[in-house]
Symmetry: C2
Subunit: 587 residues, 2 copies
């Protein structure tokens, strides 16, 4: 039962970390919103070894109540909060990467914060601590990076507030970031998330022991308010489903813990426990400072402003969200991806299916789920060689070398992998499952988790030379819109489909009066096929004509005989499958 009460990001009790180093920057630091810090100290931990070029460093940014302790440094060490992701042979492989994690500015784990002695007064800053922002946090990390001799970051990675820092790094110091991996992040938090933080801060600041933030010499601190804020935060980190799973089997049987808080309901005792643990390891002023930094983080309230904010970025991206995260919902990650695709920035995106809520980025199972994506993005393991298939061969024949290609419904990315082998300026796949996204990324190709039933990721006009729709149109309800979109983002589209008017199918239907079946993707029964569209070649050509789409090339195949149907033959009768190269106009 104790284990169940453990919080994901507070597994340690606030005791001193043995491997923390400190860097002191004695010069005054001007803050983003106008304040000034007389000097700055940074507490941080590192893993692995920096290479001679200073180019193998990964900066990891922690969330609101996290700290620099990512992982064990040795067998005796305490486990870290990203133990599953960081270490020798892990996705962030410390055998080949130099990993840095510093405690955030404004926090209470060694880096300058409200509890730090103000050198000007000789007392803790308290309420004199200036308003800090995510930009300031990143500026402090930049000083540290420079001090450590890191020339350019191989990657910046972080979840939640760490994701905000990641986004800030990529847009504020673009030339220093090769890859950015924002997890459970957003261009800015939702109004609802701010509202929860407001209530939490109000609980702290209205606690009689807060004394306007100058409580350090009173011998007490706003423990009640801080505990309330933590309880509230905790609810927002979990999904409702996860809370049901954890607390509903014994709803009316709270654990009998020592607390002044309400002792009803098992979820009540859990919250009381969490509140108590937290006040033992976190400073109330820091909680206020760091949540304010998060709430003030704002890369734009409109698409236009976000485009302006992200335009500077030079990195490639991996964006990760969690299906049950309602604090930083997946829709916010998709908004980020839409900005990146519009700007033509290389981006992979995956929404992990989980009931873990916002906390998922800290949960072992979910870390295991997104680790392969991170590993693939960081170039490990070696790309899987693409599988050869005659279907892909046919499509490859139609795509000139050095074309940029978007593959809608890319499966495991084999076609893209082969295009990559041939050399291509820009390749991207779209799929819907974590496994297929990961498989495609393992080809060394960007992959985006997106439901084509909804539409297309928001690529700019003519971003690609070719958009491939191979056995894809048949499965979507919005055929016209998807084809239109494909021809907006691509100069040409390649449409591959089974010809539903092939002779054997016509016979089956015309003579036997039964719904026809074809090999491959039409080999299902009428009542259980995943397909919902059943066009003939002529149907597809009719649609192209109606839409003003030019058919530049058409290849019709008799798969049984293994031959291409000739121009003088009745393809609509003889072809089993078809490939059309189409464009909006004959240019």
């Amino acid at each position: 039962m104790v284990a169940e009460f453990e919080s994901t990001d507070s597994m340690r009790s606030g005791k001193p970390l043995r491997h923390v180093q400190t860097a002191v920057f004695p010069a005054p630091m001007k803050l983003h919103l106008g304040g000034l810090l007389p000097s700055v100290e940074v507490a941080y931990e590192t893993y692995g070894t920096l290479d001679a070029e200073g180019s193998n460093a990964v900066l990891i940014c922690h969330a609101i109540t996290g700290d620099s302790h990512l992982a064990r440094h040795d067998a005796e060490d305490d486990p870290g909060w990203w133990e599953g992701l960081v270490g020798p042979g892990k996705a962030v492989d410390t055998d080949r990467l130099f990993v840095v994690c510093s405690n955030v500015l404004g926090g209470c784990r060694g880096t300058t914060g409200p509890g730090t002695i103000n050198p000007v007064t000789g007392n803790p800053f308290g309420s004199d601590f200036p308003l800090v922002t995510v930009e300031d946090m990143v500026d402090v990390q930049k000083r540290l990076i420079d001090l450590l001799g890191i020339k350019r970051l191989r990657a910046v990675i972080g979840g939640s507030l760490g994701g905000h820092q990641t986004l800030c790094w990529a847009t504020r110091y673009p030339e220093y970031v090769q890859t950015a991996i924002p997890i459970a992040a957003s261009a800015r938090v939702t109004a609802q998330a701010i509202a929860f933080d407001v209530v939490g801060r109000n609980a702290i600041q209205s606690d009689p022991h807060f004394h306007g933030g100058q409580y350090y010499d009173t011998g007490d601190f706003p423990r009640t308010g801080l505990a309330l804020a933590r309880m509230l935060g905790h609810i927002t980190y979990l999904s409702s489903e996860a809370m049901t799973r954890k607390f509903d089997l014994d709803r009316h049987a709270p654990r009998d813990i020592v607390t002044d808080f309400e002792k009803r309901f098992s979820v009540g005792s859990y919250l009381a426990y969490q509140g108590k643990q937290f006040v033992g390891r976190f400073d109330a002023n820091s909680y206020v400072a760091v949540t304010l930094a998060m709430d003030n983080f704002d890369l734009g309230d409109s698409r236009e402003r976000r485009l302006a904010a992200f335009r500077a970025a030079q990195c490639d991206w991996l964006v990760i969200s969690f299906s049950s995260d309602w604090l930083f919902p997946p829709s916010q990650s998709r908004e980020l991806v839409a900005i990146m695709t519009t700007l033509g920035q290389p981006v992979s995106y995956c929404e992990i299916e989980t009931d873990g809520g916002h906390d998922s980025f800290l949960l072992a199972d979910d870390i295991e789920a997104f680790s392969p994506l991170v590993a693939a993005k960081l170039g490990a393991p070696q790309p899987r060689p693409p599988r050869i298939s005659f279907e892909d061969d046919r499509i490859l024949e139609l795509i000139p070398p050095n074309s940029s290609v978007l593959d809608l419904g890319c499966g495991e990315g084999d076609l893209l992998g082969r295009l990559k082998e041939r050399g291509a300026p820009l390749l991207c796949g779209v799929e819907v499952s974590t496994e297929l996204i990961a498989a495609t990324m393992q080809q060394g190709v960007e992959a985006i988790d997106y439901d084509l039933n909804v539409g297309l990721p928001e690529f700019d006009d003519n971003r690609f030379d070719y958009v491939v729709l191979s056995s894809t149109l048949q499965a979507v309800p919005n055929v016209e819109r998807l084809l239109e979109e494909a021809l907006r983002v691509g100069r040409r589209a390649i449409v591959g489909f089974t010809n539903f008017a092939h002779r054997t199918l016509r016979e089956m239907f015309g003579l036997e009066g039964r719904a026809p079946k074809a090999p491959g993707s039409y080999s299902y029964e009428w009542y259980n096929t995943p397909n919902r569209r059943f066009p003939s070649i002529q149907d597809m050509l009719d649609l192209c004509e109606k839409m003003g789409v030019t058919v530049e090339k058409a290849r019709y195949y008799d798969d049984t005989e293994g031959r291409i149907i000739g121009d003088d033959e009745d393809a609509n009768l003889l072809a089993e499958t078809a490939l059309l190269v189409v464009s909006k106009n004959s240019g």
Copy 2:
């Protein structure tokens, strides 16, 4: 801007209500969890006139911070919180119904609560007020109902905690309730909802001005804790989408209100305003008492226990939920409906599409949306006469009089309306839109909002004589499962469909090689049809054979010629449409 700050259930400032009456019950009242109240007073309002039989009364139950003031009593009166639903000519028509709403036990609007003088001590109860439950609230209402001479309630209606009271009425006093309308309700609240309430109560009870609940003679009260609880509650009543809409255009421009709370962010000033308004009109001990009653309400943590709890009910039901309500999510209402359908209790259900969140039951637009359902359930306006169609004529011919019928995909309920005219023991429709649900209910027939792509509402085995699937199977992905389910809940199913192998379609496909189109539901193009299944008669017969389903009767129609295809003819070639009466076995 002020208007936007108004809360949905706090439109009045706590000033005395002119039309409140008070009933005194001097006898001691034993409480559900063992406590005792020396006596009980009930403050209530009534609208309309009780008829001579005492049979036209509707009891409306209010939510946590609501009160008895449903609607204006006269032109000078303040508006009430259900002004849109209750009044002359409204859905709850006070021209023909006698409407009663009493303030809840434990509250602070006149009915006995923690602020009431304890006759034993001469001081307010404060922390001596015993733990009350929803059952106790209902028991007090029962005393009032008896006093008013009401023999049986035409209906009990309520949202949120009012919905809990409604469910409690129907199961605790089954013989007194003809119709129950629980809105945004649940068999018990989620673990997440309890968690939010725990934090709210902790904020109140840890406020130094709480004094263990004995603050009435201190000249002060836990205003900070109560305000925090209210702020938090408010967030849970709104959807994230609604908060974005309300507060994100001017996120960083808070209204400059007088408050000791945080003054950042527009949503922050809104919460501060709500907190301030609330502490001026609500008692902290009542907030604790009433939220505890809600959290303790529990009609079972498993399906078996819920079945046991609801088995006693004798009413018919209208269950209403709101799509964006995450505090009482629609899934909880569907759980209730599943219990009712399993038990064979007449139930209609509708999920209203809205971004209003839990508060939707108080919002004018949403009230307008669900009013027709309430009106139809209460027998007004007069049922719409069903439209005659030859398709329905054909189905009617196949259903013997006095059969019970479930119509899956019932449209506007015309077939059910005609069955009702003929007389039928049990009729029910299933549809997916509020408009079609309302239209079917206006036929005087139960209708359930349910996505057949997911499955069927959980009717007990053989609940119906006939299940009608008219042009329905073609639109679902799970054909086999839906047909299986139809034959589980019904003794027979009537499957109506367009024959995709009709001669003209075969010709179109076989000779022209184009996806065929038929009149009616197949008159779409291949790329935009809502259908996803295209069976011929023979396909459907094959499926029946494979599934072990007996075809008892088959009627095949040439719609163009207006004739029935004879037994000696090739129906699969000649019929445009087909109706099959099928059953699991030949019995």
